[in-house]
Every structure is written in structure tokens, then in C-alpha cells.
């Protein structure tokens, strides 16, 4: 990996933005646009890998780009959690690019210049969030991410899409401007800094009551983490074309949300301080409630994408729970779940999109017998489902393992029970589609025979499914990477 050049962080963040500008200029020129989409994804991936190589060699990489107001800077720094997030999203972007091209072509969407440009901007914003060294930088890119994904959700422009997109942007902006921004300004006035620091910056600077309020503001201010009752934007975003739901609303956007939660828990509050706060248990139980309630809603959804969306709401709360447990093991488990769930859920969404492309079916109740027509897709769906449920031989088991172990460590037996219950519920809503597809006969009048989606859609989903299997064996390196958060030198 050291063969790759190590660019400075701002340059890496800029790559997708430059790509987006070029894609927008290429506009309706199909080949150029697709070539540029590939190029930005691959160059970005290589750049992030270059950073990863340097990071694993133990180099500390940081950069202050610009001081906007005294003390308020745009600054980047590599740290384990962000490295993991960036590595995951850049990898999945490369895999999602052919899928998006294939899917959008197969379904005959228009305005693709705008689509791929916004897609790239969203990834650049995710990278900015991943590398941010202070709350302000993080907030800037968080907002760019919200705004740049709006056109993607509203892409088709019909009434339903506009309505969904409105809910989407309204909830995300209302929470971030209404709650996170004041919390950030509060931290700034109380401590005079917004930099992320090991062990937090708040301890001893604000009264316990203020800290407790701040925690609630930050947790709900991070609307992208989809804590109930601010989770409605995620199901609403499902009106978007499936590549958007897959990469953004299973990976980049939602993972940015929980990433922010972890980051704030670790570097603004600090786990020791977090444990003392009056509201951390409250947030913990709200997250646990979200976890179970969203699963219950998911079981009742017949629309496959809506089911997956509620499943995401539930899974995101695993990570919030991991952060709120405020013990090292659970925080690491949360970080790992970010990765594992990312791979598992993108596979599931890729499959849902492939099913729609190949057969036009969107409902779980219509999937009967489809497994024989689309064996690759449904096999991948099974693997993705196993990963999200947390069963071997997929990576999903390790993150749940550590989360449960963390709950045990923290002495929250109720949370352990919640994890177990949630796993059962996961089985209840993720396996029926596969069971229907493989075990039930096709409805009368539909022709049997092999009929997969275009290979541009099938290959990526097979690869991400494979990825979850690889992660089963590679989990230790992710654990070691995240362990660096708590290493004394970091």
C-alpha cells in the first residue's frame, strides 16, 4: 500500500468535488460522464488507500486549511474511526458506480449529469466528515451532505418524490440547524474550542446539567443517525432511485450520522464524562427503543425498500447504543458495526434494485419463486441478510459480539436482552423474502427460467456479498484499527 502516493487530506476530500464539477460539465455526454464517474471513484479510492497505508505505518496526518474566524478553522486529521469510515465509503463507491450506471440506464432515467455530480459531491462530503478535526469542519460537510443528497432523493421530480424529498431535507436541516448548531455554539462559548481531543473537551468545563442537555441536543441534532422520533426522513428518502438508497441511505449518509455520534461521544464528551451524565442512560434507552420499535415496523412493511429502510433505522441505533454504553468495547463494536452493516445493507439494497430492474417487483409478497429466476441475487440477499442479522460466516457477527460484550461490560443487562430480541426480529423480517423466493412456487402465468438483472447490477452485489464474507475473517484488523482510538499515543 505504501506504493500509493500519500496526498494531503484536503486534496483527497477535493477529489470527488472536482469530479462532480467535471461530471456536471460533461452533462448529457454519456461516455464522458460515465468515464469521469469511474475516474473519480477509482482515484478517490486509491487516494484513501494511500492514506490508509500511511496511517497503518503509524504516521500522524493532519492539516489546517484555513482559519475562518479566530480559533474557528477548517482542519483535517486522520484518526482510526474516520479512516475506517473513509475506507469503507470509498470502497463501496467504486462498487456502486457500475451498479448506478447500469441501474439508471436500465430504468431509463434522465438528468444523469446532475445525478452523478451530486452522487460524487455526497461522497466528498462524507470524506470531509470522516477527516474533520473539529466540530465546525464536521458541521460544514454534514450540511453539504444533506443539501447535495436532496436532488438525488427528488430525482424523478414527480409529486411523490418531491414530497419525500421535502420531508427528507426538512428533518435533516431542522435537526442540524435547530439542535446541533446551537449545541456547537454552546460548546464554543463554554470551552473556547471546537477541536476534537482524546478524552473529550467538555469535562470540567460545563455544569453536569448543561452537559446533560448538550448530549440530548447533539444526539438529536445528528438527524442522520435517525433516532426516533426524528427517523421519518429515512423511509421518506426511499423514493430515490435504488443506487441512492444503497450507497447513500445505507452507507454514506446514515453512517455519517452514527459516525458523528461516535465522534462526539469519544472526542467531545469523552467516555468517562459521558458515563457521568444524567441523560446518557436516557439516550441509551431511547436508542434501544428505536432499535426494537423500528424492527417491529419493518416486519409489517410489504415494500422491500421500506422494510430495509426501517431495518437501517434499527441498525443505526445499535451503533448509538454502542456509543451511549460509554465503554471501550461497545464503542469499538459500534465502529465495527458501521463497517459490517455498511457492507451487509448495501448488498440488500443492491439486490432490491436488481429485483426491481429484472422483474419490476417492489413488494415482499410478490417475490414468490423469484429465487429460481434470479439465483445470484437472492443468494447475495441471503448473505447480506445474515450479515445484518449478525450470523456467521459474515462479518456481522463480530460487531454484534463486541456490542453485546460491551453491554455486559457496562452492566446493562437490559440492553443485552434488547440486542437478543432485536436479532430475533431481524430474522423475522430479513429471511422471509429469501424463503419466499426459494421455497414458494412462481405465481401462475409467469415464465420460469434464468432472468437476472444486467451484469452491471449483478456483479457489484455479488462483490459486496463476498465482502461480508471476507470481513468475517478480517475482523481482527478492523478491531485493531479501532483499538487505536484508545491507544495512549493516538
Amino acid at each position: 500500500m505504501s506504493a500509493l502516493p500519500q496526498l494531503n487530506l484536503f486534496t483527497v476530500v477535493l477529489i470527488p468535488f472536482i469530479g462532480a464539477a467535471l461530471i456536471a460539465l460533461a452533462g448529457s455526454h454519456r461516455r464522458l460522464r460515465e468515464g469521469l464517474s469511474w475516474a473519480s471513484a477509482v482515484i478517490f479510492f486509491l487516494a484513501v488507500m494511500g492514506l490508509l497505508g500511511a496511517f497503518l505505518d503509524g504516521e500522524s496526518v493532519s492539516q489546517t486549511v484555513w482559519e475562518i474566524m479566530p480559533g474557528l478553522t477548517i482542519a483535517f486529521r486522520l484518526e482510526p474511526l474516520g479512516m475506517l469510515f473513509a475506507a469503507m465509503s470509498s470502497t463501496l463507491w467504486v462498487l456502486a458506480t457500475p451498479y448506478a450506471i447500469g441501474y439508471m440506464k436500465a430504468k431509463g432515467y434522465s438528468n444523469l449529469g446532475r445525478f452523478f455530480a451530486c452522487y460524487a459531491i455526497a461522497l466528498g462530503a462524507a470524506a470531509g466528515i470522516a477527516f474533520a478535526d473539529n466540530l465546525f469542519t464536521l458541521f460544514v460537510f454534514y450540511e453539504i451532505l444533506s443539501v447535495s443528497t436532496y436532488p438525488l432523493v427528488a430525482h424523478t421530480g414527480d409529486n411523490k418524490a418531491r414530497q419525500g424529498a421535502r420531508t427528507y431535507i426538512a428533518l435533516l436541516l431542522a435537526t442540524s440547524i435547530g439542535l446541533m448548531l446551537p449545541a456547537m455554539i454552546w460548546v464554543w462559548t463554554a470551552t473556547g474550542t471546537l477541536d476534537f481531543a482524546d478524552g473529550g473537551i467538555l469535562a470540567g468545563q460545563v455544569s453536569p446539567a448543561a452537559g446533560a442537555v448538550l448530549l440530548v441536543l447533539f444526539m438529536y441534532g445528528t438527524g442522520k443517525a435517525a433516532l426516533m422520533p426524528f427517523h421519518r426522513w429515512l423511509p421518506a428518502a426511499m423514493v430515490a432511485p435504488t443506487p441512492v438508497s444503497a450507497l447513500l441511505h445505507a452507507v454514506a449518509v446514515v453512517k455519517a450520522g452514527v459516525f458523528v455520534v461516535l465522534k462526539i461521544a469519544l472526542y467531545v464528551f469523552g467516555l468517562d464524562y459521558l458515563r457521568e451524565l444524567a441523560t446518557s442512560d436516557l439516550m441509551l434507552y431511547i436508542a434501544a427503543f428505536t432499535m426494537l420499535a423500528a424492527s417491529l415496523v419493518a416486519i409489517r412493511q410489504d415494500n422491500l425498500k421500506a422494510r430495509l429502510a426501517y431495518s437501517t433505522v434499527s441498525q443505526l441505533s445499535y451503533i448509538v447504543v454502542g456509543a451511549m454504553l460509554a465503554v471501550q468495547l461497545a464503542a469499538i463494536g459500534g465502529g465495527m458495526h458501521m463497517l459490517m452493516h455498511g457492507f451487509g445493507k448495501i448488498t440488500l439494497f443492491f439486490c432490491a434494485g436488481a429485483i426491481y430492474v429484472a422483474s419490476g417487483k417492489t413488494k415482499v409478497s410478490e417475490l414468490d419463486g423469484l429465487g429460481r429466476r434470479m439465483p445470484v441475487t437472492f443468494f447475495a440477499f441471503l448473505i447480506g441478510a445474515l450479515c445484518v442479522i449478525g450470523l456467521p460466516p459474515t462479518g456481522g457477527i463480530w460487531s454484534k459480539w463486541h456490542l453485546v460484550a460491551g453491554a455486559f461490560d457496562a452492566g446493562h443487562s437490559a440492553i443485552m436482552v434488547a440486542f437478543m430480541l432485536s436479532t430475533l426480529l431481524n430474522i423475522g423480517y430479513l429471511l422471509p423474502p429469501v424463503v419466499r423466493a426459494f421455497l414458494r412456487p412462481l405465481p401462475e402465468g409467469e415464465k420460469a427460467g434464468f432472468d437476472e438483472a444486467p451484469w452491471m447490477c449483478v456483479v457489484p452485489l455479488a462483490l459486496t456479498a463476498l465482502g461480508t464474507l471476507v470481513l468475517f475473517f478480517m475482523a481482527q484488523s478492523a478491531f485493531d484499527l479501532l483499538g487505536g482510538v484508545f491507544a495512549p499515543t493516538a
Partner: protein, 493 residues
């Protein structure tokens, strides 16, 4: 020639040029003369600011020594405002050519002459250190503005202009009454002299009434709620260029005059005690923020929507003033500058749409995101600034405003500021949604992208919005100096 001797020419050059302009025929020369005059004026203003920030400049007209003769007295506060006014005029003029050719096809000499008069009036108000002189320049700029608004191609422009004339005259009369009262009590019209003499007589109802008259009079010109009624119609029906110019300058100058009187002529430790000014301004500011944003959310005409948004933005400035602290006043000055940047950019983008489509109704903007991408993208980016998204100028001023509120422990103000920012999201978003996510109906004509002569100035302003969102040295430095000049008794030599 020192900067002190040069400084009055930023007022005189447009004044003299307006006479020339009125006599020029055709379409090119009036514009060209105006452009030269405005650039000269802006350059002088740009040189004045750094000099005035160090030491208060004073120029006595006709060599009559100050308390007797008319004096131009420039410190950081008015130099900052003067640079804003002249600078905005200079940026707007290159844009004006095409737009004015279309909307005011005839007698452009008179039109540009009025514009120059309005400009020199506004600059005169800003630079003058003499209360009566301020009133005279206020009338010059107001009368010229009425004429400019009446040039609008819609017949309703006449009514809007007439309405503004009535309200504006009431405002100016109030100011005059206030100044008259002060003159009765002190026998002087020089602002610095007034500041010195007032303490002896200020516990009289005459002086208190003077303060009240001046605040209400300037509140009218400033469009502070509930005295804003003239503004939406005037902005909506005036020619696009006039709206662009007024939105960035006229209300700002009125705010400056109000501040000059409240803070320097009557010291803040008196004016904020004798009248419950802080409370009143805070309530009116917040009410303006809410009412303006609320009404803006439902306007079918984009120009009108932006006009109501201006009422809201004035509310932010008034709120900053009501906090009576250096940081609050700095926030007000910052927003004064930043709002000029964003509103000018927005009105330019809308004016460009009007140039191409002939209307600024929301339903006529449908689908334009695809055919006029540069114009509408400029609108969207400037809209981000008015929402207050980080990295834009709007964010910087809101950041300071919130800091000022927190400084005094006024938590609820923070909440209110953020809620109104969210309302701004809604009204800007309506335009974006119409432009990109709604189809153009078949009956509406297809239009292409606007000419570069309109696009380039618009994008320069959009770029400035981002530039001043990232590099805040000039704006924050200037605004802080201005606030300190007002609070720290900048008028005493």
C-alpha cells in the same frame, strides 16, 4: 491632496455627474458616465476606510470651522457604510446596462441622473457630520428614489412609488422635527457639537421627544416592522436594477443614521435608559424576523418574497443593535454588509430571470434550472448565504449575532434566530424546487441562458458571498471598528 480633502469627492463626483448625465442622449453615454462616476466614488471610499479607521477625518466645507459651517466627519462607522454603498453601486452598474435597456428603454439620461442623485444622497447622509445636512441629503436621495421606482414597467410601480413617497416623507419629516427639537435646545446642528452640549439639557421632554421622533422617522426609512409597509411594493415593481441597488444600500444607510443618533449624539447610557429602547428594538427586531420570513414563505412572486425577506433581515440587524454591546453592534454592522452582498446577488439573479422570461412569478420559474442553469445556480448559492450555511457570508453574521445573544445569556434569542433561519430555508427552497423539480408547462415559452453581461456581475457577487464567508478579516475587522467607533465616542476628536 490628502485623503481628508479627497473624501468629499465621493459625494460630489456622482452629484456633478448627474447633471451631465441628465443632458446626454442615447443609451450608451449616460450609462458610461455613470459607471465612471460610480467607480471613482467607490475608489475614494475604499481609500477612506483604512484612513478613517485610524483617525477621525474632518473636512470643513467652504473653510467655515465646524460648529458653524458644514462638516464632513468620517470615522470607521460611516466609512464602512460609505464603502458598502459606493461598492455595491459599482458592482451593480455593469449588470445594469442590459437590464435597464430592456426595462427602461427611453430617456435613460434622466434615469441614470436620478440614480446618481440617489447615490450621492446616500453617500452624503453617510459622510456628513451635520444634522440638517443629513436631512437635506436624505431628501435628495428619497426624491430621486421615488422617481427611480416610478420607472418600473408595471403600472403598479406608480402606486408603489406614491406610497413610498407618502411614507418616506412622513419619515423625513419626523427626522426633521427631531433635529429641530435638538436645535431649539442646543442651538447647534453639528453632530459632535450636539453630543457635547446635549448632556446639559437632556433631562427635558423636548430632547426625549427628539430621540423618539428620530427613531420613528429612521425606522420608517429602515423598514423596521411595523413601519415596513412601503417596502414590498416598492421592491417588487421598481425596475430590477433599482431594486438591486436599493436592497443593498438604502435601508442600510437609514440604519446607520439611526445608530449615529442613538449612540453618538445621545450617548447609549442615556438613550437606552430614558426610553426602553433595548426592549422595544428587540421586540420589533424579532417580530420583523418572524413576520418577514413568514410572509416570504407564501409569496407567489420571487421579487416580493425577497422584499419580505429583507424585512426579516433588517430584523436581525435591529436585534443586534438592541443588545447594546460591541459584539452585538458588530453583528449588526456585519449583517448590514453581508446582507447587502446576498440580497444584491439574489435580486440580480431574479433580475436576470426577468430579463429572459419577463416575470418573476414562481410558476414562471418552473423548469428553468435546466435551461438557465448558471442563473438559477447563482440564485441557489446566494440563497445558501441568506439561510446562513457555513462558508457563506450569511453564516458569519449569524454566528456573531448568536454569540452576541449568548454573551448576554439570551438563550431564547438563539432559538428564534435559528427558527427564522429555517424559515429562510423554506422560502429559498420553494424557488429551487420550482426551478429544478417541476416541469415547464407547454404554454410557457422556452428560454435559453442569459447573456454574459448579466451573468458575470451576478457570479462576482455570489463569489463575494463565499469569499467573505471564508476570509472574514475585512468584514469582521471593519464591523468591529465601526461598532467601537460608535460605542467608544468616535465623534469626539
Amino acid at each position: 491632496m490628502t485623503i481628508t480633502e479627497l473624501m468629499p469627492f465621493s459625494v460630489l463626483v456622482p452629484l456633478i455627474a448627474s447633471l451631465v448625465c441628465a443632458l446626454l442622449p442615447g443609451r450608451f453615454w449616460p450609462w458610461a458616465v455613470t459607471l465612471v462616476a460610480v467607480i471613482v466614488s467607490a475608489v475614494i471610499a475604499a481609500f477612506t476606510l483604512p484612513a478613517a479607521a485610524q483617525v477621525t477625518l474632518s473636512y470643513a466645507f467652504g473653510n467655515w470651522p465646524p460648529p458653524i459651517g458644514i462638516e464632513y466627519r468620517v470615522d470607521a462607522a460611516n466609512a464602512f457604510v460609505a464603502l458598502l454603498v459606493a461598492g455595491m453601486a459599482a458592482v451593480a452598474l455593469p449588470w445594469a446596462k442590459k437590464s435597464v435597456d430592456k426595462e427602461v428603454p427611453e430617456r435613460q439620461g434622466a434615469f441614470y441622473a436620478l440614480f446618481l442623485l440617489a447615490l450621492s444622497g446616500l453617500l452624503g447622509i453617510t459622510l456628513s457630520g451635520d444634522a440638517f445636512n443629513i436631512f437635506v441629503f436624505l431628501e435628495i436621495s428619497s426624491l430621486a428614489t421615488y422617481g427611480l421606482i416610478a420607472h418600473g414597467s408595471d403600472r403598479r410601480a406608480l402606486l408603489a412609488s406614491f406610497r413610498y413617497l407618502i411614507m418616506g416623507t412622513v419619515g423625513a419629516t419626523f427626522l426633521l422635527i427631531g433635529i429641530g427639537f435638538l436645535y431649539i435646545m442646543t442651538g447647534t446642528l453639528n453632530l459632535a457639537d450636539l453630543a457635547e452640549r446635549l448632556p446639559e439639557v437632556r433631562d427635558t421632554s423636548t430632547v426625549r421627544a427628539a430621540l423618539a421622533f428620530i427613531i420613528v422617522g429612521m425606522g420608517l426609512k429602515l423598514a423596521m416592522l411595523p413601519l415596513h409597509l412601503w417596502l414590498p411594493n416598492a421592491y417588487t415593481y421598481a425596475p430590477s436594477f433599482v431594486t438591486v441597488f436599493l436592497a443593498g444600500t438604502a435601508t442600510k444607510v437609514a440604519l446607520y443614521v439611526m445608530l449615529r443618533f442613538v449612540f453618538t449624539v445621545f450617548a447609549p447610557d442615556w438613550s437606552f435608559v430614558v426610553l426602553p429602547l433595548s426592549t422595544v428594538l428587540m421586540i420589533l427586531g424579532v417580530a420583523g424576523m418572524f413576520a418577514g420570513s413568514w410572509v416570504a414563505m407564501f409569496q407567489p412572486n420571487i421579487k416580493r418574497m425577497l422584499a419580505y425577506s429583507s424585512v426579516a433581515q433588517v430584523g436581525y440587524m435591529v436585534l443586534g443593535v438592541s443588545l447594546v454591546s460591541v459584539i452585538g453592534l458588530s453583528a449588526a454592522f456585519l449583517h448590514l454588509f453581508n446582507h447587502a452582498l446576498m440580497k444584491t446577488a439574489l435580486f440580480m439573479a431574479v433580475g436576470t430571470v426577468i430579463y429572459q422570461v419577463g416575470s418573476a412569478r414562481l410558476k414562471d420559474v418552473r423548469g428553468l434550472g435546466r435551461t438557465m442553469p448558471w442563473t438559477l445556480t447563482a440564485f441557489a448559492l446566494a440563497g445558501l448565504s441568506i439561510i446562513g450555511v457555513p462558508l457563506t457570508a450569511g453564516f458569519v453574521s449569524k454566528w456573531y449575532l448568536i454569540q452576541a445573544a449568548l454573551d448576554q445569556g439570551q438563550w431564547f434569542l438563539v432559538v428564534l434566530i435559528l427558527v427564522t433561519s429555517l424559515m429562510a430555508v423554506i422560502y429559498i427552497w420553494r424557488v429551487i424546487e420550482a426551478a429544478w423539480f417541476q416541469e415547464r408547462s407547454i404554454k410557457q415559452p422556452d428560454v435559453g441562458e442569459a447573456p454574459l453581461a448579466l451573468l458575470i456581475p451576478t457570479w462576482i457577487l455570489v463569489a463575494l458571498n463565499f469569499y467573505f464567508g471564508i476570509d472574514t478579516r475585512l468584514t469582521v475587522g471593519g464591523a468591529t471598528a465601526a461598532a467601537e467607533a460608535l460605542l467608544g465616542g468616535g465623534m469626539t476628536p
